[in-house]
């Protein structure tokens, strides 16, 4: 017993070192999945507050650019409204448009601002300035004017943590617009501009420049939101699936304003699942 105590006293530093390292590795291994603990992420209240203050200061320097972006978006929307109205005109008289309307009414849009983001890690994340009190919940989809951004993974009262498409642990159901084929996205790391599309079988025609959109199979996103454009589709001999690399339409490094999508019919859909 005396010897043991002596040993511990002699090597107390080494033992403390080992203890702390074991603790650190425990933390790392429990946080490998994308649902990380709230205290140790940037959705931590204190850290988020500091980040929000930093963002407040920086956003003054960005006002000009934001204004340009907003006015650009407005003009694009106006154009869209105009063309849609033109298209609607001949339909008004005879067609039953209610079905079309309902399909689109299921989503409520909550605007939010990105106050912190990373693009250089394998497990990237972004923090939004809206949380539970703005009725944001875990699992909601996040989009921006250019396309899909990611999925909410953590919320507290005032902030939300979003796992973006450029995270090695997230796969999003996706559809090739041209032929309706369904696959899923997967990110390999490092390159925040590109993402892969998996599970597209070899008999399907895929060409450079094909648009890839959300599939609408999950309640997170409605169908038809842009994800990316096919840049390279390789098919090696013996492969049963394509190797598809696409360019993301969302520029994650310039993200500033995003929209959180709240599926108002989600509960009803979930209820059906439970009854089955």
């Amino acid at each position: 017993m005396k010897n043991l105590l002596q040993f511990i006293m002699q090597h107390s530093c080494l033992l403390l070192f080992i203890l702390l390292e074991v603790l650190a590795f425990l933390l790392i291994s429990t946080n490998q999945s994308y649902s990380r603990s709230t205290i140790l992420t940037s959705s931590n209240q204190l850290i988020a507050d500091v980040n929000a203050t930093g963002d407040d200061i920086v956003s003054y320097f960005r006002l000009r650019k934001d204004n340009e972006q907003l006015s650009e978006q407005i003009s694009r929307l106006q154009e869209q409204v105009q063309s849609l109205e033109n298209a609607l005109e001949p339909l008004k008289e005879n067609a039953d448009t209610t079905a079309y309307k309902y399909a689109h009414l299921n989503y409520q849009v909550i605007p939010a601002k990105v106050i912190d983001l990373s693009t250089d890690q394998e497990h990237n994340y972004l923090t939004l300035n809206k949380g539970k009190r703005d009725s944001i919940e875990v699992g909601m989809g996040v989009v921006c004017s250019q396309g899909v951004v990611g999925v909410v993974s953590r919320v507290n009262e005032r902030f939300a943590l979003v796992v973006p498409l450029i995270h090695t642990g997230i796969n999003q159901s996706a559809r090739i617009k041209k032929n309706g084929q369904i696959g899923f996205t997967s990110w390999q790391g490092h390159d925040y501009r590109h993402i892969n599309l998996a599970e597209i079988a070899r008999h399907i025609m895929v060409e450079e420049g094909d648009s890839v959109i959300t599939s609408g199979l999950t309640s997170t996103f409605p169908e038809g939101i842009m994800i990316g454009v096919v840049e390279k589709a390789r098919l090696d001999e013996g492969d049963s699936y394509y190797n598809i690399r696409m360019r993301l339409t969302t520029d994650f490094r310039k993200l500033h304003y995003v929209q959180v999508l709240r599926n108002t019919a989600k509960n009803e859909i979930d209820e059906l699942m439970v009854d089955e």
Partner: protein, 164 residues
């Protein structure tokens, strides 16, 4: 007392600088300097070693919270805090002679360069390997570690010059 205050203020300034500015700059996607390690490098050598370890763990945890990388920075900082005193006693024959201040004027230019160089590479290697949690892009990873370490080292070197 005055010195303790200086260390604390330097720590807070470095953590804010790292979290708010440097983490948001993207130097070609390869450079990720972690200059907050400077506050661990310059800790007085008169600190008991267990205190230094605990300081290292705490600084690492705060950085983890800022970067959303639970445990990664903690592991790296604890390693730095453990090996730094060992290296100092290796590099300097008579530890009592140098006093508690650690910088190039007390350690000597060559000794300080070796100490900070090795500590920075150790820290950056651990952070980037653990963050990636794979060796899939090994070449890219090694390049990133070396270039980032170099950048941190230059910044530490410049800071050390201002202290003379």
């Amino acid at each position: 007392m005055n010195n303790t205050l200086k260390h604390i203020i330097r720590l807070i300034v470095l953590l804010l600088l790292q979290g708010l500015l440097i983490n948001n700059l993207h130097f070609l996607g390869v450079f990720h300097p972690y200059i907050y390690i400077l506050c661990l490098l310059f800790l007085p050598s008169s600190l008991p070693r267990w205190v230094e370890l605990l300081i290292g763990a705490a600084v690492g945890l705060v950085m983890d919270a800022i970067c959303s990388t639970a445990g990664v920075h903690m592991a790296a900082c604890v390693a730095v805090s453990y090996f730094r005193p060992l290296m100092i006693s290796r590099l300097v024959q008579d530890v009592n002679r140098i006093g508690s201040q650690i910088c190039s004027s007390t350690l000597g230019d060559w000794q300080f360069t070796t100490l900070s160089g090795i500590m920075i590479i150790l820290h950056h290697t651990l952070v980037m390997l653990l963050e990636a949690w794979s060796v899939a892009h090994l070449g890219w990873l090694i390049m990133s570690i070396l270039l980032s370490s170099l950048m941190t080292f230059v910044l530490v070197f410049l800071y050390d010059r201002t202290q003379r």
